[in-house]
Amino acid sequence: MSLETLQSFQWGIMAPEFIILAVAALLSLLDLFMPDKMDRKVFGYVGIAAIVAAIAALAGMIDHPVASILDDTFRLDAFSKVFKFILLGGSALVLLLAVSYEPKEGMEESRGEFYYLFLTALLGAMMMASSGDLITLFVGLELLSISSYILAGIKKRNIKSNESAMKYVINGGISTAITLFGMSYVYGLTGTTNLKGIAGQLASLGNPQYAYLLGLAFLMIFIGLAFKLAAAPFHMWAPDVYQGAPTPVTAFLSVVSKSAGFILITRVLLSIFGVTPSNGPGSIPILLHMQDYISFIAGATMIIGNVIALRQTNIKRLFAYSSIAHAGYILVAFASLSFVMFDAIWFYLLAYLFMNLGAFAVIQLVSEKEGSEEISQFAGLYKRSPWLAAAMGILILSLAGFPGTAGFIGKVNIFIGAFTGDNPHYVLASIMIATTVVSYFYYFGILTQIFFRPAAKETKFNIPTGILIVLTICVAATVILGILPNTALDFMHNHTNQFTDFLQ
């Protein structure tokens, strides 16, 4: 690869990644050389600035035609663009939370890492979003995972934090191995790791025998990646890790990391199996055949998430299960493989980003103030801080999917997908709606605490700026997306052109 070729690449399309990378590297160095007594909070702000810059850069290229560099290992298409917005936006908000995160004990000397590891994780996620090759994809995935392992355990002195990190590593390792094992078969059958190349090869794959092997590969990859979504059967790590990890990290895992997981799944499964004939040329793609497996997983995820959540008393654990359930909802959108699939997934992730981060902002505030993560700590919040209570109320209603909030529109999108097409997923949709009703129990349980129960003490809250900003943005976005969803939908419709360039 000569210098000319290197220069011939239009590196510009990687600008956002470069920004994040540069800042991350810079911060790590600074952290080394800066005297310990200096406050590392500034890192957080720098990081946020970097993300904002990245967003600006990305917005600059919003209408950039599909392009790919480094022999198609990095591609910039509508899909990667719109989803990167979610990743970036999410990380920015998480960093805001992180800045105002003041745990009682555990992470005295590790403030620096705390900030720039978010950035590296984000970098990994972004790479996944726009990688066109199994290798880059895998590397991006690992970059995200490993950074999050450390983040989960960042409170070195805190047993729960350590434990959650440990559990995360072990489960993560297993999942990685499984995924890779599946990928290795795909490579074996095609001799290439480039997604487009693979697709091309498989399209002409004659022998049904291979298709059989591909099916196995599909299952392994899918289950392996289910780990990132915290979808059944690879969901069980989530509650423990979410509970043990520092609240901003939990928020990060439940939003950014999850989104990355969906990006990955869509990317890999769609480009590899979306066009591969199940047996012999001309037959319907494998993906359609495997639809039922996906539906099965989705259903199981929704049921497990919502039902077990009923018994939780720890708010972070509760939200872990709720986030499992939401992964299930999004999987429904994926399973239905309809023409609105991308829209549905994207919008739901966006909505989920805001409502969940907002909720975590409140959780972080309350649990830090009370030094406990029990739901009962929310009792009488309505008396202690009406606005905070109202905000939490809106966010939770949105999570429960009530109209007027983003959550409802997201669900509607998913339903449209589920019911269009030749074989409507009545069962899956019914499970989704039924479990949603189940979820009312615990969501409104929280509201009961906030609004009906008397407060233990009357002390008011002083809300840190970071959290205040996050809350305002999240609540505002939740409501706006709920009442005028086209602010977001149109943006997507206008700039994605139905994601037609996804496979080009």
Binding site: F339, F402, P403, G404, F408, F415, I416, A429, F451, H493
Partner: protein
């Protein structure tokens, strides 16, 4: 103010009150109550204006408003949800009813003891939801308003209710949540299959020669709709939630609940179930009528042995909703008009009765029949109105109850005389349980401790007299309802091919 903006103002005017209240102190009780009351007036005035506009022979179409709102898919042809409000005879009546009862309930809310600010904010939000439900011209908009009524009710019951309020709130939430969930599925299937959620378009597309929905799917959807609205109405055996609500919620809220919210079920049945799936509806009408008779008798018999007057009224609501079902199940103009009349009439009557329950409870701190008794001595006026309300409720001619009951049965007798004859037992039972309860409360020896209880006073006369007046008006001169209904009814019958 152009006519097309009337409905939007009508529906959202209560929110103005909400915003005002948001910036008031919870301690200014008087001011809050006044603002809350005033905020219900614009809707009332506009609703009446619409009514007279229509009675003056003008077209209700003037009011309909349509604006592009959501389009879920990039291309501009399908999957739009427009913001579209409009009225027909039926919804006009419901809107007027809602506005009236909401205002009166606001008056009744003067008895609320705590947290006035939050109470009235939710109360007004609830009103907006109800008004929206009746005016929205497309299913998704309808659903949104439908759910909007859910949340405020949850809080109003759960915070301002009586002893088992939280339990009641949750069973309200879960039952209705389930109902609306099923409703949502139906709506979504229709939306996904036809690409539109506009009621009128749906009627066209679904019943077109080559409809995108197979007959069996339509039947499935219809049954789902029946269940969804059956929870709301409620149809036996989906009723246990509303008993709790009736007993636990504050009377002013029960006025709204049994006065209007239950009626959304009937409204939905007529407007959507019957409107969108007329062919299939014909097949299930018989079943509905049968269920109606069951409701009627079941409620009546159970009301006969209740100790708490609220429970009597709760079961009597079930019983009276049975009459609505009977009318709908009769599937002829007479029956359906009877059903609609019953919806309105029961709305007024139950509002009146529950207001009086509130009055009694406020004075005596009990609603148990045997703890009361002889109230006619201490508070003759209230007792008299209670008796009058009971008479209206048991279908005394000259009051609204009779007209609706009569028409419903008249309709049912046409095709299913035997079933109807069985149903008439309900008429006797109604008299039996209502007299038992009301005479038990007001007649007989007066209790010593209620000797000095104060009779109706001041503002309390407003709801009582208004409601009584309307009840008698409809009973004596039913055309006030039937003439606006005319066209709407014809449309329905046209859809049914009858």
């Amino acid at each position: 103010m152009s006519l097309s903006s009337v409905l939007s103002i009508l529906v959202f005017s209560p929110l103005l009150g909400v915003t005002v209240l948001a910036f008031m102190k919870n301690t200014q009780e008087k001011a809050i109550k006044i603002v809350g009351l005033l905020a219900t007036l614009p809707a009332l005035l506009l609703a009446l204006a619409c009514y007279f506009h229509y009675q003056a022979g003008k077209d209700l179409g003037d009011f309909s408003v349509k604006a592009n709102w959501i389009n879920f898919v990039g291309d501009k042809k399908y999957f739009h949800v427009a913001y579209e409000l409009g009225l027909n005879g039926l919804s006009l009546i419901m809107v007027v009813l809602t506005a009236i009862i909401a205002t009166l309930a606001a008056v009744a809310s003067m008895h609320i003891k705590k947290e006035w600010k939050g109470y009235f904010m939710l109360f007004l939000l609830l009103e907006t939801g109800m008004l929206g439900v009746f005016t929205s011209l497309n299913l998704i908009l309808f659903f949104i308003f439908f759910e909007v009524t859910l949340v405020p009710m949850f809080f109003l019951i759960g915070k301002w209710g009586y002893f088992e309020k939280e339990k009641a709130a949750f069973s309200f939430l879960i039952y209705n949540g389930l109902g609306s969930a099923i409703l949502l599925i139906v709506i979504m299937v229709l939306f996904a299959k036809t690409g539109t959620s506009n009621i009128h378009d749906l009627q066209q597309i679904v019943n077109a020669a080559k409809s995108p929905l197979s007959g069996s799917v339509k039947m499935g959807l219809l049954i789902a709709l029946l269940i969804a609205f059956g929870v709301k109405l409620p149809i036996f055996p989906l009723h246990s939630w509303m008993l709790r609500v009736h007993v636990q919620a504050p009377p002013s809220i029960v006025m709204i609940h049994s006065g209007i919210l239950l009626k959304i079920g009937a409204f939905g049945l007529i407007r959507f179930a019957m409107g969108i799936f007329p062919e299939q509806f014909k097949d299930v009408a018989g079943v509905l009528a049968f269920l109606g008779v069951i409701n009627l008798l079941y409620g009546a018999f159970l009301a006969f042995i209740q100790k708490d007057f609220k429970m009597v009224l709760a079961y009597s609501s079930i019983s009276h909703m049975g009459i609505v079902l009977i009318g709908i199940g009769a599937l002829n103009a007479t029956g359906i008009q009877g059903a609609i009349f019953q919806v309105v009439s029961h709305g007024l009557i139950s509002a009146l009765l529950f207001f009086l329950v509130g009055v009694f409870y406020e004075r005596t701190d009990t609603s148990l029949i045997e703890n009361l008794g002889g109230l006619a001595k201490g508070m003759p006026l209230a007792a008299g109105f209670l008796l009058a309300g009971a008479m209206a409720s048991l279908g005394l001619p000259g009051m609204s109850g009779f007209v609706s009951e009569f028409m419903a049965f008249l309709g049912l007798f046409k095709d299913m005389p035997v079933l109807a004859a069985v149903g008439t037992i309900g008429i006797i039972m109604t008299a039996a349980y209502l007299l038992r309860a009301v005479l038990g409360m007001t007649f007989g020896q007066a209790h010593r401790e209620f000797a000095g209880t104060m009779d109706l006073k001041g503002a309390e006369f407003v709801p009582v007299l208004t409601l009584m007046f309307l009840i008698v008006l409809i009973g004596v001169y039913p055309s006030v309802l039937s003439s606006p209904l005319k066209t709407a009814l014809e449309t329905i019958m046209l859809g049914l091919g009858g």
